[in-house]
């Protein structure tokens, strides 16, 4: 496949792996967090750890939009379909996230009285707008989740609805912000005081950075003295970024580098940023699964567009719900624990019956490890014929 195979080339990978082996200092250990689920997925799917020396370790970060969605938010979406009788439109990944009372959007879909409400999977907010136009007598709500990448399309949907005067369309806004989450991790006691998580640098997001640019990460290099390398989602991007991070650590010269120059600039996508600024404002607090309440880490719909805000329209009140007490998703999302440190992993919690959110999306690190990497947990897993 043109323009993709080039970034998955095994020979080039071996070349970078050789450079990494030559560059690492043998007495040093390197701990890098890949923030994004997209990177977590690529690392597991292409078997990148097999190409890294033993003293380079990747820590999975909280950048999986489905994983950080707290139970209470999914409950709100389910209530909209079951109690308020709306057609709830959701991205596919979100459907299987476990919510309260043994429900998920997928299970609720089987329960819902189709004459009143419904839950439908969509690929784009445009699909939700289309459903609203086709069903003028029904209320249609778009369950908007994700980081800065999925926010501009939601903004366009809101502005389209306003322009068309689409009275039956609204958005349940759960958009969250990447820099706030990184700050939260760097300020956490595990990283700052207790030293439980060694963090020597970040692989910065690919798609998020196409929107916000590389500039917002400069703060982390300057204030926290952590190198950041923004990388694309292809496996060679990840390998190259790891090499760049190792070089920065070795020289002690911390800055933001951009490996993903084919898509990311320092300023980002100004037009998308303007659309987001027009439609959204910061929430003072927002609950993240795993990270808890994080100040100024999420967006809400501006007063001007309140008519399209599902929380206002249906008078929803948020009810926080604790995770299952044995579920380690929180610690895993903060990089404190590895999926296999969780008692539930691979036992009662599998991709087919997830207990925690990290086991749901293919970007979740538990799902990625279970699907692509669990042979490494078994000594016989490295089988030969």
């Amino acid at each position: 496949m043109k323009f993709v195979d080039e970034f998955r080339d095994g020979q080039l990978a071996e070349g970078i792996a050789g450079a990494i082996r030559k560059t690492v200092e043998v007495n040093r250990r390197y701990h890098f967090m890949e923030f994004c689920g997209g990177h977590t997925h690529a690392i597991a799917r292409y078997g990148i750890p097999d190409l890294l020396p033993d003293n380079v370790r990747m820590i999975h970060g909280p950048g999986c939009p489905v994983c950080v969605l707290p139970i209470g938010r999914i409950d709100l979406a389910i209530r909209l379909a079951l109690e308020h009788g709306v057609i709830l439109c959701s991205y596919g990944d979100t459907l299987r996230v476990p919510a309260s009372n043994g429900l998920s959007l997928l299970r609720a879909k089987a329960l819902v009285d189709k004459a009143r409400g419904d839950i439908r999977m969509i690929y784009s907010p445009n699909d939700a707008l289309k459903i609203a136009r086709e069903n003028p007598s029904r209320q249609v709500v778009f369950f908007a989740i994700g980081f800065e990448t999925t926010t501009p399309p939601t903004a366009v949907a809101l502005l389209t609805a306003e322009r068309e005067g689409l009275q039956n369309f609204s958005v349940l806004c759960c958009h969250v912000l990447t820099p706030a989450a990184i700050t939260h991790i760097l300020d956490s006691p595990e990283v700052r005081d207790l030293g439980l998580v060694a963090l020597d640098g970040f692989i910065g997001p690919a798609h998020v950075s196409t929107v916000i640019g590389s500039q917002p990460y400069e703060f982390f290099a300057e204030e926290y003295r952590k190198p950041v390398v923004i990388a694309g989602f292809e496996p060679l991007d990840v390998m190259q970024a790891i090499l760049m991070l190792i070089r920065q650590v070795n020289t002690g010269n911390y800055r933001v580098e951009n490996e993903f120059t084919r898509a990311v600039t320092r300023e980002g996508n100004r037009k998308a940023q303007a659309l987001v600024a027009e439609c959204f404002e910061l929430r003072k607090q927002f609950e993240w699964r795993g990270l808890g309440e994080v100040p100024y880490s999420a967006l809400k719909i501006r007063e001007r567009l309140a008519a399209f805000d599902a929380e206002t329209r249906f008078n929803l009140t948020y009810q926080p719900v604790p995770d299952h007490k044995s579920c380690e998703c929180g610690a895993i999302l903060r990089g404190v624990k590895h999926p296999t440190d969780c008692k539930l992993f691979g036992m009662v919690c599998t991709p087919d019956s997830p207990m925690g959110s990290c086991m749901v999306s293919s970007e979740g690190c538990c799902a990625a490890h279970y699907t692509y990497g669990r042979h490494k947990d078994h000594p016989q897993g490295h089988a030969t014929s």
Partner: protein, 346 residues
């Protein structure tokens, strides 16, 4: 005496109504003018509650498959041909010669007779091509909104000569794994229709009867362990089934797996793994390693196996893991698909 006049079925503008499943004259007419007209053969013509089949030498293999694909017509096929191929292939991969099929139709009130005619014609053509007869059938009609056009269930019977045993449990460490051609064509043909993905050359379903291909393999001197057709859940699901059944591991070589560029691109766009995508005309062969080159030769000599490849090897692994050596140089698990990625694919 004049024979009773009945207005012929309007195959141009007519629609299925509830009387077509009512057991009365309307149903008889539908059977006569549509089903029997296209599918007719001397066994079906017995017209009794059951069909008496001639006795055969050898054991019998029976398999059944229901078809609910949406859309009903797609590039490379339709629900009619698919319902024949699906069952013929399930019988054929057992090493049997498929002979007869039954066909059960669930029709939705209001379904255009022209579409039904096109589907049944396509079934007849597929059956002729595969060398099987449809020998008994059933028609039911459900109210509008209670079905989705047409659902078809076919059951097939084939004859298995003595001495052939192709159970999934036969795979042994060291055996070779082959595939008869590119993966994911059927699933992505359906998906690209549903998602309106347009490509310069549309993705075409691989829906095809595999019985002549399986017959060619059986006629050769290859030390065959088993054959499978990787339908729903794709290559990944079928290989995991084999690993579980035989208590072995499997290692795949990603760079050896044939895949069409358009299929790979569509999977990339939709975030799907081609290993999980359904096929309807592909054969997985597991054979002794020594036989692999001749198996490859037999496959490639057949029109349905031109792109055949040796894609992996059976390993000793008590965990029964299917793993893949990635093109990138790493190693990863190839797991079952979790949940339902592509509903109503066949």
């Amino acid at each position: 005496m004049k024979s009773d006049y009945s207005r012929p079925l309007d195959l141009k503008h007519g629609r299925v109504d509830l009387s077509h499943g009512g057991g009365g004259r309307a149903m008889q007419q539908l059977i006569r003018e549509l089903f029997a007209r296209h599918l007719g053969n001397e066994l079906l013509a017995q017209s009794n509650d059951g069909t008496v089949l001639p006795s055969q030498q050898g054991r019998l293999v029976m398999s059944t498959d229901s078809h609910v694909v949406a859309p009903l017509f797609f590039p490379g096929g339709d629900i009619g041909a698919l319902s024949v191929h699906g069952t013929v292939n399930d019988v054929a991969v057992m090493g049997a010669t498929p002979l007869w099929l039954s066909a059960g139709f669930i029709l939705e009130e209001g379904f255009p007779l022209a579409d039904l005619d096109r589907i049944v014609r396509s079934m007849a053509e597929a059956a002729r091509h595969a060398g099987v007869q449809i020998v008994t059938g059933d028609t039911k009609v459900v109210e509008q909104g209670k079905g989705d056009g047409v659902f078809i269930t076919t059951t097939g019977i084939g004859v298995l000569p003595d001495g052939i045993d192709l159970s999934g449990a036969n795979a042994r460490p060291g055996d070779a794994v082959l595939i008869s051609g590119s993966i994911g064509d059927h699933g992505m043909a359906i998906m690209s229709q549903r998602e309106n993905l347009a490509f310069d050359a549309p993705i075409v379903s691989d829906s095809a009867p595999l019985n002549s291909l399986t017959a060619a393999l059986l006629a050769s001197q290859i030390e065959l362990r088993l054959m499978r057709d990787p339908t729903r859940g794709g290559l990944a699901a079928t290989l995991n089934e084999i690993a579980t059944q035989a208590g072995v591991g499997i290692t795949l070589f990603e760079s050896a797996i044939p895949i069409k560029p358009a299929v790979e691109a569509a999977c990339e766009l939709l975030g799907l793994d081609p290993l999980n995508i359904a096929n309807e005309g592909k054969l997985i062969v597991v054979c002794a390693a020594d036989s692999a080159p001749s198996a490859l030769e037999v496959l490639r000599a057949h029109p349905l196996g031109r792109e055949a490849a040796i894609i992996g090897t059976i390993t000793a692994d008590p965990n029964r893991f299917v793993q893949m050596q990635t093109r990138f140089g790493g190693r990863r698990m190839v797991d079952w698909l979790s949940g339902e990625q592509l509903p109503r694919i066949c």
